[in-house]
Symmetry: C2
Amino acid sequence: AEGGDANESTDLNESETQKALEDIDGCQNEIDALNEKASEEILKVEQKYNKLRRPFFDKRNELIERIPNFWVTAFVNHPQISAILDQEEEESLHYLKRVEVEEFEDIKSGYKIKFHFKSNPYFTDSVLCKEFHLAPTGDPESKSTQINWKNGMDLAARGQAAANSGNSRKRRHGNKRNFFMWFLDNGDPSADDIAEVIKDDMWPNPLQYYLAPDTEVEENGISDY
Amino acid sequence: AEGGDANESTDLNESETQKALEDIDGCQNEIDALNEKASEEILKVEQKYNKLRRPFFDKRNELIERIPNFWVTAFVNHPQISAILDQEEEESLHYLKRVEVEEFEDIKSGYKIKFHFKSNPYFTDSVLCKEFHLAPTGDPESKSTQINWKNGMDLAARGQAAANSGNSRKRRHGNKRNFFMWFLDNGDPSADDIAEVIKDDMWPNPLQYYLAPDTEVEENGISDY
Ligand SMILES: [Ca+2]
Ligand SMILES: [Ca+2]
Ligand SMILES: [Mg+2]
Ligand SMILES: [Mg+2]
């Protein structure tokens, strides 16, 4: 035992310490078991309310689908989404008619963000989906619908070219990505800030953004939002 | 209405749009009410398990208190805590005999981290407590026991002097803070990374750190931990 501690009569010798550590391990097992039960009960509450909310999300989407440019307006009014949305992409999102965010039944496995589009000049797909799930290793993974761009309309490639270019005007905001580049990026699912914003901020209440324009933030810039 | 949308017969005119927006607001109210009920049920689960876990945390602390240098060993073996712990502070923590993390009953209001010390050469206090709570405004706030340092033993002031000094050796790790500077810092409670590490990582299971030394990370440096 070290220094002054060895002289305290309440401290343990080495074999008593070993026993105490085993007893602490026993305590930890009880605590871990309770933590697991708590997580399971919380998951059940979340599953219950996902089911209860579903009809309201469905009804909400029916109503939204009839309002011209609802989603593009909400996106343009959201500080973090508008920060990555370039001008041509904003045009393309006028064809966005429906957004859905769905968690997997067991919640733990992940969720999907679905973008439903009207017929448009940019790509032939009617639904673009970005999905977050767990790999067999347990690591977070994502996958994105491969976008079937019409001729000369690859907005992600244009964004990449702008990001690479030496053109200081195009790069003035320090933009390294645009919306469709974000959509197609599966490099670091656990750090997908835009997906998190759509799932946890936009999807729970898009109406607040449709109704209330906010100051645009510069990506990587300071904002007083 | 804009562009192509105005010609779609399913789109609404302005007063129909207004009605649809009111109906969406109605949906949102229902969704918000369900979200609130979900949060309340989840809070009840957390309160239930806080009560169930409490006797095991108490028993664990009784056992820990008899093991020489349990907490200093766990802290030194934790990558993020050891990164801010300077050498003299590590000495002082040999007198740390008990740590407690307690959430307020309603959980939402905050929590306390209590450090219980044996009689020591550094300060006269037997308990140092850092508490996190909500200000009347609803903003997160924290407060720390004012430490009654013995003569010439102000370890936080020493850390501040080292951080300010031009001495490149003392600053080689880019350390801007040490443990007691962290303890006393109430400047940005919502971004208190060390408190979060103690509450969510160390407190749930300190035994894993007592038993298993990990590579120290440089504060602000790259680690392969
Ligand atoms: Ca065990
Ligand atoms: Ca309302
Ligand atoms: Mg427009
Ligand atoms: Mg030691």
